[in-house]
Amino acid sequence: MRARLAALAGTVAVAGCEGAQSAFDPAGLEAERVLLLFWIMLGGGVAIWIAVIAVSVYAAQAKTKVYSDRTGVLVIIWCGCVFPTVVLAALLWWGLAMMPDLRRPADGPTIAVSGERFWWRVAYAVEGGPGVIRNLPRGGVPSSNEIWIPLGKRTEILLSSPDVIHSFWVPPLAGKMDAVPGRVNRLVLEPTETGVYHGACAEYCGTAHAYMGLRVFVVPEDEFEAYVAAQARPAAVDDGRGAQSFLENGCAACHTVRGTPADGDVGPDLTHVASRSTIGAGLLPTTIENFAEFIRSTDHVKPGVEMPSFGMLPEEEIVAIAEWLETLE
């Protein structure tokens, strides 16, 4: 039983080190450096811990030799003053020396990301400009909850929020950075491998905080350009029942579908919602059933979400809207 538990604990521990949302599986320059720092700090910490325990065990022996005051002071000076000073100075300088490389200016696209309760508003191709800015630049190519960035470029993420403090964290790519109302923080991502990485809001922001996920797609540069160009186009809309129901039932008050009269700015832009891999900020895979479920019982699927449930709509209308949304690629 004990062996089984140990094996289980080991499996869980190891499993936690891999995957799309693990800082132990880095795919970005900053995450790689942070991981290296972590291992060195861990190794150093373990070595010092072993040394302290060894000295404690020795000191607890009944027949230890009596040392002079001078020896005691020398131990304190060398082990308690000089050693920590040298180690801390070396770590500090090494950490600081990493900064110029990590803080190099971006040479890739600028993407505005706004943390909002409880999703991520994304705008590609915005003008960042140098220096401290208070509010995210307007315009750009809107999207949400999914960020595509090119491989081998340093992409600048401009972070802010209109409501409360959120924190943007994609562990395999870089450390976390806060999205603060009234201030724009800049995070530069330099991915080193293509792939899909999961991120999360890392600062408690309200009821649905735990459901405020995002996906980052690292792709070759030409694919990135093509993606942004596709996102910039209006939706391929048909005027079927789904589109009508969407407009008649007030969805357009909060959501934009470019190419239709829907131009609400409260919730995510749905122009190309079906091209995204998830709905509800990383919550559910994009399928007709999940669209319908999200519309039907929003607060059940994502408790605390700002969107009201539309379960009062006739079922066929919900399905029609879901089917229509699934066509918005």
């Binding site: 005051d69 020396a97 900064m99 220096g131």
Partner: protein
Amino acid sequence: MQVFGKTQDNLWTLIAAPAIWGFHFLFSYFLAAYRCAPNDDIFGTRAAIAVVTVICLLLILLIARRAGREWRTYGGAYRNDQATDNARERFLEFSTLLLAALSFVAVVFETLPIFVFWDCR
């Protein structure tokens, strides 16, 4: 207060070096925050911090030298736990020396970022 003779140590002489460290910390922190809010060019900020650092380090060295010299002159013993004026004086001098050393290192550590950060991003 006599600087290079026999000084009567007290709590004020003891905390002088950490107080300089505290001043240096607040000065650097506030100046950098103030100049970075509108994202001004921070070359001047870094230079100002460098100048203040040099002054702070010199003052701390002066304090360390004064305390160390007096402590050594009167025996330089590590154990000063008798209830006498002399032991109290030596205790304060030795403590001042140690605190000055700590403050010196801390001020140097606080200053290192000015060699790395060129802008306010």
